[in-house]
């Protein structure tokens, strides 16, 4: 298998002229509009022979100054006979819904549910849109860039971060563990005089 092969990306581009083919690090992908997401998936399976579902994932679209608002959704499927992979991407704005492709490949269902709960994406047409990994009581979407690791604020980091550091030396400014927001976010427990 060639992951994200240029050959299949070129063929999808022919069938779907509105898509944009991009390549980097020897891997190619076709960028499509959210409205064409389902069409691209159906074309990949029926015309390009991508019978094998591989994975679907999401990430922050990574615009500087605009973190946590736009998200990229990635799909990788495989043509098992040609042993080639096809990568398709789309970008969702804060109001966009991701059309479900669980009807094209049943295996996409869990991946979509995971992406939805981790990034706060809205799914359209997902047969079982319930949470998958997170409990129902969980608030927020933990993989978003704007998600604050609140548990690390309210609970002091166990162990010493620096040699010689101890909680009995309040004069020394404590180093914040990774992922903990700056003091403007709110009070923390170690500052609480109780």
């Amino acid at each position: 298998m060639t992951a994200a092969s240029p050959e299949l990306a070129a063929r999808l581009q022919e069938l779907l002229p509105s898509g944009v083919t991009k390549a980097a690090f020897g891997q190619s992908w076709v960028q499509v509009e959210p409205a064409e997401w389902h069409t691209a998936a159906a074309l990949a399976r029926d015309e390009l022979g991508c019978l094998m579902f591989d994975w679907l994932g999401a990430e922050d679209a990574g615009r500087p100054g605009d973190l946590g608002r736009r998200h990229t959704v990635l799909l990788h499927v495989v043509n098992p006979l040609q042993q080639r992979g096809l990568s398709v991407r789309t970008e969702l704005g804060p109001e966009d819904e991701l059309p479900s492709i669980a009807g094209v490949w049943a295996g996409a269902a869990w991946h979509e549910r995971e992406a939805a709960e981790m990034f706060g994406l809205a799914l359209a047409g997902q047969p079982e849109p319930a949470r998958l990994l997170l409990p129902d009581s969980f608030v927020g979407h933990p993989l978003r860039k704007d998600f604050v690791l609140a548990a690390r604020v309210v609970r002091p980091w166990p162990g010493g971060l620096e040699p010689g550091e101890s909680s009995s030396a309040p004069s020394r400014r404590r180093l914040a563990p990774p992922g903990v927001p700056d003091p403007s976010w709110g009070p923390r427990r170690e500052e609480d005089p109780r």
């Binding site: 690090f25 922050d60 990788h76 049943a106 295996g107």
Partner: protein, 439 residues
């Protein structure tokens, strides 16, 4: 209801109907109590010896036939994908190795290969061969646990003790080679954390010799045993088209007849130069998967023997001083750590080394912006890392295509329409590792 019943099967009324809490040895009494209810919903786990870690199964039954099955996952969600975003590229290894705890070296290798692809570097030959060697040793250990826990779940307890006995040999060998039994963090972007010990070849040869002697025992103990075969043959069938639509890989896909093994279909680390076969079957059932795992152990031994022959002396880390970890590590009594001699030398003699060391350890190296997807064949199937860099010293996103997560979706099609006992056999043949599934 008599007091005797209350000791075992506690019954309470809910809006959904009566709920029975079954603890042991009293299933017939529950059936008697619940007689008249055509539909029973049964919950297994998440703390249950036969659900393979913290996996929860919810089954809807008619009599003993499963009409609907669902898995409930997420009990071992650790947020590793998020954590990695706050660490530098090298520190990421210590996180990913903790995901699928039965295949730590596969996670390390796949993660490092994706980072190396972004960096555009090729690791030295000795490091590549060592990675193949370590991964195949790890594959044997993982398959042995699959046989052992699968045996335990089906009541073949001797199979469990045998499997864990041999797996202990695997862990001893890995401890000798990498310093730790698991969570090795031995494979690093750019190569290996340090060179293999001097007696590697001898130790690995002793191990392969022992495994060749012990493996036929499994055929004697399990393969020909009628109960073992009856519990698994024709059970948990998943044909090839269903495998493809669900994205199932690994022994499950190969048991359905497709010889799909990334070591052959997309060779990495020089796998194209090793002689080995990809065993397949067309039975698509639990017994076929058991046989394939056993055969894959034999094939892994073949690869290990070839890899150990090719282990030429040489560097195990790229030369690039901007990437290679400048510290020298040694294996001490408490595992792997900084070499005190090296620390003494750079502290006392070379200010530049000290500054360089400090920068690289605290900040890490920058990786060119972009994203790649690199898959490897783990014991459970395709394990892939989709790694995104924004050009900084920390990953922007690390998405893991985890075979346990993908493969678990096959539980309902494998078990619906079958018996309750067959669900256990089916889940055992999927061999999910919840640490990897939930991440």
């Amino acid at each position: 209801m008599s007091t005797e019943h209350e000791t075992y099967a506690h019954e309470r009324e809910t809006t959904e109907g009566p709920v029975f809490t079954v603890t042991g040895g009293d299933w017939d009494e529950v059936i008697e109590e619940a007689a008249g209810n055509e539909r029973i919903v049964m919950n297994l786990g998440p703390q249950h010896p036969s659900t393979h870690g913290v996996l929860r199964l919810v089954l809807e039954l008619e009599g003993e036939t499963v009409t609907q099955g669902r898995t409930v996952i997420g009990y071992l969600h650790t947020g590793i994908e998020k954590n990695v975003e706050y660490r530098n590229w090298t520190q990421g290894v210590t996180f990913v190795t903790r995901m699928d705890y039965l295949a730590p070296l596969f996670n390390e290798a796949a993660y490092c290969m994706s980072v190396e692809k972004l960096l555009g570097i090729t690791v030295p030959q000795r490091a590549q061969t060592a990675r193949v060697l370590l991964m195949e040793i790890n594959r044997i250990g993982s398959h042995l646990v699959a046989l052992a826990t699968g045996g335990m779940e089906l009541g073949a307890l001797t199979g469990m003790t045998a499997g864990f006995r041999e797996r202990e040999e695997v862990l001893h060998l890995l401890e000798h080679l990498t310093g730790l039994r698991m969570n090795h963090a031995y494979i690093r972007p750019g190569g290996l954390a340090q060179d293999l010990p001097a007696d590697t070849v001898q130790k690995v040869r002793e191990f392969t010799k022992l495994m060749h002697k012990r493996l036929p025992d499994y055929d004697k103990l399990l393969t020909g045993q009628p109960i073992w075969r009856n519990r698994m043959a024709g059970v948990g069938v998943l044909p090839v088209d269903a495998c493809l639509a669900l994205g199932i890989t690994g022994p499950i896909l190969r048991s359905a007849g497709l010889a799909w093994d990334l070591r052959k279909t997309e060779p990495y680390l020089g796998y194209e130069n090793y002689e080995f076969e990809v065993p397949t079957s067309t039975d698509a059932d639990c017994f076929a998967r058991y046989l394939l795992r056993l055969e894959e152990i034999h094939q892994s031994l073949r690869i290990i023997e070839q890899a150990v022959d090719r282990l030429e002396p040489g560097p195990v880390m790229v030369e690039d001083a901007k990437i290679a970890w400048p510290a020298q590590l040694t294996i001490g009594a408490d595992g792997m750590g900084n070499s005190l001699e090296h620390v003494r030398k750079i502290m006392g003699q070379s200010m530049e080394s000290l500054i360089h060391h400090f920068k690289l350890v605290t900040e890490g190296f920058a990786v060119p912006a972009g994203q790649v997807y690199v898959p490897v064949e783990s014991p459970r199937g395709e394990l892939g890392y989709h790694v995104v860099s924004d050009g900084g010293t920390r990953p922007m996103r690390v998405h893991v295509r985890e075979p346990s997560f993908v493969n678990l979706q096959s539980m309902p099609p494998m078990s619906e329409g079958g018996m309750v006992a067959d669900v256990i056999a089916a889940v055992a043949s999927i061999d999910p590792v919840m640490g990897g599934c939930d991440r």
